[in-house]
């Protein structure tokens, strides 16, 4: 199975561990990731606060490239990227005038035909049975708190993924591999995201609450599918511990990490060795 792959800046940069993890995990499941040629920034948080058309044009160009390269589906593991791409896709499919205008701006014909999927959707597509079949070990020792963050399920109309307030798709996958996810309360709360640069203390507070709730409900690790969440919960965990004088000691995995482990991949190839908090 060939899948169009849009890594976005994070998976090539600060979160290259996520990039490694996604590639390794999906490869092991027989999916080949074909990175888009000449992809550009999705616009992320910056573009839509500056210029509406820019925020539309940036992801649209990526969609145009995907269409030209003939991908019916495009994986964008970063929820910010997939949300921006989906927003653009919705706008493009709704208006032919807009399609024409945007095509002119990005200098590529764009229809908005390519479907955009997040990591969980790719795994669902591969299918639980297929994953289970290839699994070589159980994840029994993991009691993860699955954390979806603010973007994976929102805006609900645009992303149309899982239940906006009470998602459960990661749990379903992990349960199938033997893990025992915990029920907890902060699945879709905000971790602070990009505010980490502008307002450190608020981000620390938000992330602290998330970690605390996970621990309080018996989690022994956390699973995410977003590079930004990982930054705030893993990289910043030491700062949180310091600020709140506590010790969460909660390893934060990407979903692909745990699936990869079940498939028998080693921590290094999944990039787990590049995480900050090491599993006890």
């Amino acid at each position: 199975m060939d899948i169009g792959y849009y890594p976005g800046c994070a998976l090539h940069g600060s979160s290259n561990d996520y990039g490694s993890s996604v590639r390794a995990c999906l490869n092991a499941l027989g999916a080949r990731l074909c990175e888009l040629d000449d992809w550009i920034c999705c616009g992320a948080t910056a573009a839509h606060s500056l210029n509406h058309m820019l925020a539309l044009a940036l992801p649209s160009r990526n969609l145009a490239i995907a269409e030209r390269q003939g991908y019916e589906e495009l994986l964008a593991p970063c929820p910010m990227c997939s949300m921006e791409l989906l927003k653009a896709r919705c706008a493009l499919t709704a208006s032919s005038d807009l399609r024409e205008k945007v095509s002119e701006i990005v200098e590529l014909e764009v229809q908005g035909k390519t479907r955009v999927l997040n990591l969980i959707q790719i795994l669902q597509k591969i299918g639980l049975d297929a994953i289970k079949q290839r699994a070589v070990r159980t994840l029994k020792e993991f009691r993860p708190a699955c954390y979806y963050g603010c973007l994976l399920t929102r805006p609900a109309d645009t992303v149309q993924f899982d239940d906006c307030e009470q998602p459960s798709s990661m749990e379903t996958i992990l349960c199938a591999l033997g893990a025992e996810p915990v029920q907890w309360n902060y699945k879709t709360e905000c971790c602070g995201a990009g505010m980490t640069m502008a307002d450190g203390p608020t981000t620390l507070e938000l992330s602290h609450k998330i970690l605390s709730n996970a621990v309080a409900h018996g989690a022994n690790c956390m699973v995410v599918a977003c590079p930004m969440c990982h930054v705030n919960l893993d990289m910043k965990q030491a700062d949180i511990d310091r600020e709140y004088d506590c010790r969460h000691d909660l390893a934060v995995y990407y979903l692909s990490d745990l699936v990869g482990l079940a498939l028998g991949l080693d921590e290094k190839s999944l990039g787990i060795d590049r995480h900050f908090v090491v599993k006890r």
């Binding site: 239940d163 906006c164 307030e165 009470q166 309360n185 902060y186 709360e189 709730n213 309080a216």
Partner: protein, 666 residues
């Protein structure tokens, strides 16, 4: 040959100032078919009318044109006058030379010319007028009331008290509706059951009321004055006539752990049960899905205990036909549930409130039962999960209501009031407890209503926070309610023991299906549509069908009762005559020419056109045709415009009349 009389009114100076009425009278005197043309100072005055009556007789007029003011003003007047002189009133037409001429055209020359043309047009029309007879429809002077809540009870009693028979259909085993389950009512805090149950008893004992409980309206045929209604009486497995309501059966029933519908699943009942002690009729019903006799084929203890031999396990549904002349719909409401699964995809549930997975998040009606002396907790305020007395209760307003994201844009109107009531009842019972209310606006218009809310805040110390709740989570047996107080401008987290949702009011289940059977319109939310929001608030566009109570829109008890009495009044007005007299200006179909495409049937806003068959004397089908039911037709003429062969025509505005008018514009 027509003999038309033209009567031109001066209207004092109103017309005569700008229209040369004498010249106009002279100019139209020679029109074909005109035998007299006179001008008079005030046509609508007694002498004016008697002039017209004299001329009708002396000139043997076959048609009259009064050129004066708007027909909306005096057409009725002049038609009545003509009728007094023995001329069919529908042979009178008016030319509006005041509002449409003298008052708006100040050039005397132009105004006079136009007046002459307007008169000529009316003369052309009246020559094609036909003598019409009012349509009379015999009526069955019995009413059907659908729904036995407070509105239905009120409507039924009002009609029955006036001496007319009423058929009251209620789908639950007892009448009483939502009000029977309420604790106390705002703004007086009088006990709901205390004021309702006597009226329920009145219904049960009224000689003019035929009560069908545990029954549903299955089909409605016919039209105003002549409805044929089929009612399905669901099998009750108890002989209503034999049963004395002694209670031996339900006291002995071994199947005891069945969730009580009346207590909104917060208490239990037996398999053979009465929903609540004051039920009317006070006769039990067997829940087939819970009864051991039906589930396992053994038991039958109730039958053994019954001294009256009233338990009938072989009872069957019964279908009854009732003939009635008017129908009052009072099917009431239900509360919006925050569940994930909703009736329509437009209505999304509230994941942030936990989709009902926390037992201590209850809705307002459940809270009513918790507070009620007859409720599952015996009136003590205890929360469902562990029976503890909640020390901190959060009330959330506008759950669903006014929330476009959840698909409901309207205000449910009563929540502000009952939420205030809830905080008071809570405080009166849990003195050391604290009530919190999250609200968007407080809407407390009504007699003594705002004072009531102020009391809740000022005397009973409820904390009102203007803002929405974003999330409810559960931690260590507490409900963590996170919201915002926009007046303070800060996020707010409250650790609550119980959360009460003031969920939106929705039409009761099945209301739209019933509306379809009755041909009554309904809005996008399923509330039934009244005929006119101001002037015909209890009528519907289906003649003879009236609405009252919350099936028409959110409303509180006094409003429901008032509307119910209004609907009953309308029914009684209808019943005050043996025949229903209707304007004859209705559509008719030329059945010989009708091609039976039935476009008119689709288009008719009143479902007044039916598919019919023409048969010969031997009963052989000759042809199919559309046919107008004059009892339902309101005379809009939409069918005429839509009929390609013009087999449909409209009395009073026939093709012949309208074309004659246009063709007079030479």
């Amino acid at each position: 040959m027509s003999r038309i009389g033209i009567f031109i009114c001066w209207c004092g100076e109103n017309i005569a100032r700008n229209v040369d009425v004498e010249r106009a009278a002279a100019e139209v005197a020679d029109l074909p078919g005109v035998v007299c043309s006179v001008a008079y100072k005030y046509m609508c005055s007694d002498p004016g009318q008697s002039l017209m009556r004299q001329k009708i007789v002396s000139e043997r007029l076959t048609g009259v044109v009064v050129a004066s003011c708007s027909p909306h003003m005096h057409l009725r007047t002049f038609r009545k006058a003509a009728a007094m002189a023995g001329l069919n009133p529908y042979l009178v037409e008016m030319a509006n030379i005041r509002e449409h001429c003298s008052w708006v055209h100040h050039d005397r020359q132009q105004a006079t010319t136009k007046a002459v043309e307007l008169i000529r047009m009316s003369v052309a029309k009246v020559r094609a007028n036909a003598a019409l007879q009012p349509i009379s429809i015999p009526i069955t002077r019995r009413a059907l009331v659908i729904g036995g809540g407070v509105a239905g009870i009120q409507a039924a009693l009002d009609i029955a008290d006036s001496g007319r028979e009423v058929v009251l259909v209620e789908r639950e085993p007892s009448i009483g509706g939502k009000m029977a389950g309420l604790s106390e009512t705002f703004p007086t805090l009088d006990c709901s059951q205390c004021i309702l149950t006597p009226r329920m008893v009145d219904v049960g004992q009224h000689p003019n009321i035929r009560l069908y409980t545990y029954s549903e309206v299955e089909g409605v045929e016919g039209y105003v004055g002549n409805f044929k209604v089929t009612v399905r009486k669901k099998a009750r497995y108890v002989d209503m006539d034999a049963c004395t309501g002694c209670g031996q059966c339900w006291n002995a029933c071994p199947s005891k752990k069945n969730l009580s519908e009346f207590d909104y699943q917060m208490g239990n009942r037996t398999a053979i049960y009465v929903p609540f002690p004051q039920a009317v009729p006070a006769r039990p019903v067997i829940d087939r899905d819970a009864c051991l006799h039906f589930l396992k084929g053994k038991c039958g203890i109730c039958a053994k205990k019954c001294a009256a031999n009233a338990v009938k396990f072989d009872d069957q549904d019964e279908v009854i036909t009732e003939e009635v002349g008017a129908i009052v719909v009072a099917t009431g409401f239900k509360l919006y549930s925050i569940d994930r699964d909703q009736a329509s995809s437009k209505l999304a549930g509230y994941g942030e409130y936990g989709y009902g997975q926390y037992p201590d998040v209850v809705d307002a009606l459940q809270f009513e039962r918790i507070v009620s002396a007859s409720g599952p907790t015996g009136g003590e305020i205890r929360r469902p999960s562990d029976g503890q007395q909640p020390k901190s209760v959060v009330f959330i307003s506008c759950v669903g209501s006014r929330d476009n994201a959840k698909g409901i844009s309207y205000c449910s109107k009563i929540c502000c009031m009952y939420t205030a009531k809830h905080t008071m009842l809570y405080k009166h019972k849990v003195h050391d407890g604290q009530a919190h209310v999250f609200y968007m606006d407080i809407r407390s218009g009504g007699k003594n209503y705002d004072e009531f809310v102020r009391r809740a805040i000022e005397q009973d110390g409820a904390h009102y926070h203007r803002g929405r709740v974003s999330k409810i989570t559960q931690e260590n047996g507490k409900l963590i309610v996170r919201g915002v107080d926009t007046l303070v401008g800060e996020p707010l987290t409250i650790e609550a023991d119980l959360v009460v949702l003031a969920s939106a009011m929705q039409p009761a289940g099945g209301a739209t299906e019933l509306a379809q059977k009755l041909n009554v319109g309904y809005d996008e939310f399923g509330f039934l549509s009244e005929s006119h929001p101001k002037l015909r608030p209890v009528e519907t566009n289906a003649a003879g069908v009236f609405v009252c109570g919350a099936c028409q829109g959110p409303k509180d008890i006094p409003e429901s009762v008032a509307q119910a009495s209004a609907a009953a009044g309308k029914v009684l007005v209808m019943f005050s005559n043996e025949q229903l007299s209707r304007e004859p200006e209705v559509a008719r179909i030329n059945e010989t020419n009708c091609a039976a495409c039935f476009a008119c049937v689709r288009a008719c806003p009143y479902n007044a056109i039916e598919r019919a068959e023409v048969r010969d004397r031997k009963g052989q089908l000759v042809k199919r045709t559309a046919r107008v039911n004059p009892g339902l037709c309101m005379g809009c003429g939409t069918c005429v415009a839509i009929c390609p062969s013009k087999s449909a025509d409209l009395e009073g505005f026939t093709e012949q009349q309208v074309y004659a008018m246009v063709e007079s514009l030479v």
